[in-house]
Amino acid sequence: MKKLLSIFAVVAFAFSAHAGTLDDVKNRGFLKCGVTTGLAGFAAPDDSGEWAGLDADMCRAVAVAVFGDRSKVEFITTTGKSRFPTLASGEVDMLARNTTWTISRDVNLGFEFVGVNFYDGQGFMVPSALGVSSATELDGATVCIQTGTTTELNLADFFRLNGISYEALPIETNDEGKENLFAGRCDVYTTDASGLSSTRAAASNPDKWVVLPEIISKEPLGPLVRHGDHQWGDVVRWSLNAMIIAEELGITSENVDAQTSSNVPEVLRLLGVEGNYGEMLELSNDWAYQIIKQIGNYSESYEANVGPDTPLEIARGLNALWTQGGILYAPPFR
């Protein structure tokens, strides 16, 4: 199936390989952004039918950069299987769909990951009554695991490396894993940490479950565009970077107006007061100002959608700035 999809993608790519996505988007009047059909904290429709979440904010940021208007975006829902053909065929201009950046997707499928907006990784969740504080203490545990995924392989590696044994209870979907864990048919549930958090938040008593500190795989999730259109890739890349740099510089949606009279050169460059960086990207000069004003910096988006104050309660962890113990890092704005 994967091979077939990649062939589709390549064929579709060949048909639609034309430069100038930015011009297409401008002429169309709105951005087409591929998101999930619903993943807690990343993209899901809220009560009024507006898409909300970390990935949805990423889409809006790009729309703001191009049009200066956060509503100029059409969300196209895609599934794990349909996302790549949809992007390759030009039906969407970009994907922000919690997609892991891997070499085969980057190279073989002909896409370009422009950055990482969430560092995820495979983790473990256990009942707090089990009294376990580390995954290395899980010798002999029954583990609920989605079959045929990389998580399955990661799990086998981890237990073998630590010289402990486990019994796998194969499941198909996240819902199934949740039900099995809550019913006590397995001691441990393992999947991506963000998925564990939403599973935990869905429990009737979330305090009865703990997510163990071990993260056993790298899952950098980021927005991606089609290969070959570097101008458009730059727009999406720097829309993400602008949000991260804004956090670094302490610019928020609230103080952004005051910051335009700051005396820090990088702030002035980012907000378009000095220099002509917007022009280089073929955007208006206040594009980054508008992103921060209308969407907020990375931290604001994170806290509103997945942070400790939301039901998901995902700590910043790896997603903290490099200055604060995480690995979130954007190239300098100059």
Binding site: A12, T36, A40, D46, E74, N305, T310
Partner: protein, 377 residues
């Protein structure tokens, strides 16, 4: 003499409620045992389900009298000991379930389309409707009206199908699929039985190919490959592509169902029609098809119900139908964990539609007396 003629009443034990109970529920000891077991199960289950769905449930306010805006405010999450279903999620999301992301200012168009759909179905459902002929004209032009009404054009602002969702998408897919597949299916069935080898081979090939692949494959085909066959610049709408796939799928099944009906028509009917000098089309239209379709009603309804439920597969290609909206709601951090309520509601809606279809087919069968062996002797 009088005494002899007096009608004696049947024994009490065979009439009235007691008689009915004896015959149907307690006929012998195995029957009685099963009956008691079922009664016990219902006794256990019904009070619980009624309590959960109605008596202890939250509809808009929780037991503290607050209006519920997220799952933490549901009674059963505030106090796990009591509190049943939290229907507030359906209340809050009702608009999305029914219309998807259709803009609120334009939603009257969907409402009119729903009302017109009911009006268009009326003459099809009731043969005795007064002025049925005029109603039928309306039914024929309804799809065109609905298209402009829902999609835009002719003075209406355009609403991209990307904004459609929920029941709207389910009904559009179900109705269009069923309505289009019926004539196509008839043509395919006639084609497969044709004496012209090219036609019959092509129809057979088509039917066998479509029946040989799962609907998901066809949906992917429609989504991914169909645009490649079109000249560049022609942007085919996502929903239309799915509709094409669904219609192809359904017409292949419909063709086989109708072919079954055609094969049940005794050759005498064909011969009689031909001996009257009828052409191929007149013979089929006036003699063969009315009988064939009549005996095919149960399987036609069967595949139609199947299709109506299969429309939920469109989530695979990223279209949010009724079930898709439900899943999207479950992914909202405000409503995490309310899967029972949402799946219950979605299945209830599907049940209402499919049960309606199946009751209607029973009514049709009774009316047309399809059970009678027509003209076989």
């Amino acid at each position: 003499m009088n005494e002899m003629n007096e009608v004696r009443k049947p024994p009490v034990a065979t009439t009235g409620i007691i008689g009915w109970l004896r015959i149907n529920l307690f006929f012998n000891w195995t029957n009685s045992l099963i009956t008691l077991f079922v009664i016990y199960c219902l006794y256990q289950f019904i009070p619980w389900i009624l309590d959960w769905t109605i008596f202890s449930a939250d509809f808009k306010y929780n037991y503290l009298g607050e209006q519920i805006t997220n799952q933490e405010m549901c009674s059963r999450n505030l106090d796990p000991e009591n509190g049943g279903a939290c229907w507030a999620v359906i209340y809050v999301r009702f608009y999305q379930f029914i219309y998807g992301f259709y803009p609120k200012v334009e939603v009257w168009r969907v409402n009119i389309a729903y009302a017109m759909l009911a009006l268009a179905l009326l003459p099809l459902l009731y043969a005795k409707l007064p002025y049925r002929k005029y109603f039928l004209y309306f039914t024929y032009i309804f799809p065109v009206i609905a298209y402009f009404l829902l999609n835009g054009g002719l003075g209406f602002t355009e609403v991209s199908t990307n904004k459609w969702g929920g029941l709207l998408v389910t009904l559009v897919l179900g109705c269009t699929g069923i309505a289009l597949a019926f004539p196509i299916g008839i043509m395919l069935a006639l084609g497969r039985r044709s004496k012209l080898p090219v036609i019959s081979m092509m129809c057979t090939l088509f039917i066998e190919f479509i029946r040989g692949v799962p609907l998901i494959t066809l949906l992917f085909f429609g989504m991914v490959m169909l645009p490649l066959f079109l000249p560049e610049g022609i942007d085919m709408d996502g929903l239309v592509r799915v509709l094409v796939a669904v219609t192809l799928f359904q017409s292949a099944y419909m063709a086989e169902v109708i072919r079954g009906g055609l094969q049940a028509i005794p050759p005498g009917q064909y011969e009689a029609a031909k001996s009257l000098g009828m052409s191929y089309w007149r013979m089929n239209l006036l003699i063969i098809l009315p009988q064939a379709i009549r005996i095919s009603i149960p399987p036609i309804v069967n595949t139609s119900i199947g299709l109506f439920k299969d429309t939920t597969l469109v989530i695979i290609v990223g279209i949010l139908d009724l079930l898709g909206i439900g899943r999207g709601t479950l992914a909202d951090t405000n409503w995490l964990g309310l899967s029972y309520e949402i799946y219950f509601f979605v299945s209830l809606v599907f049940f209402i539609f499919t049960f309606g279809m199946s009751r209607y087919s029973l009514y049709l069968e009774k009316k047309l007396k399809t059970g009678i062996n027509m003209g076989a002797d």
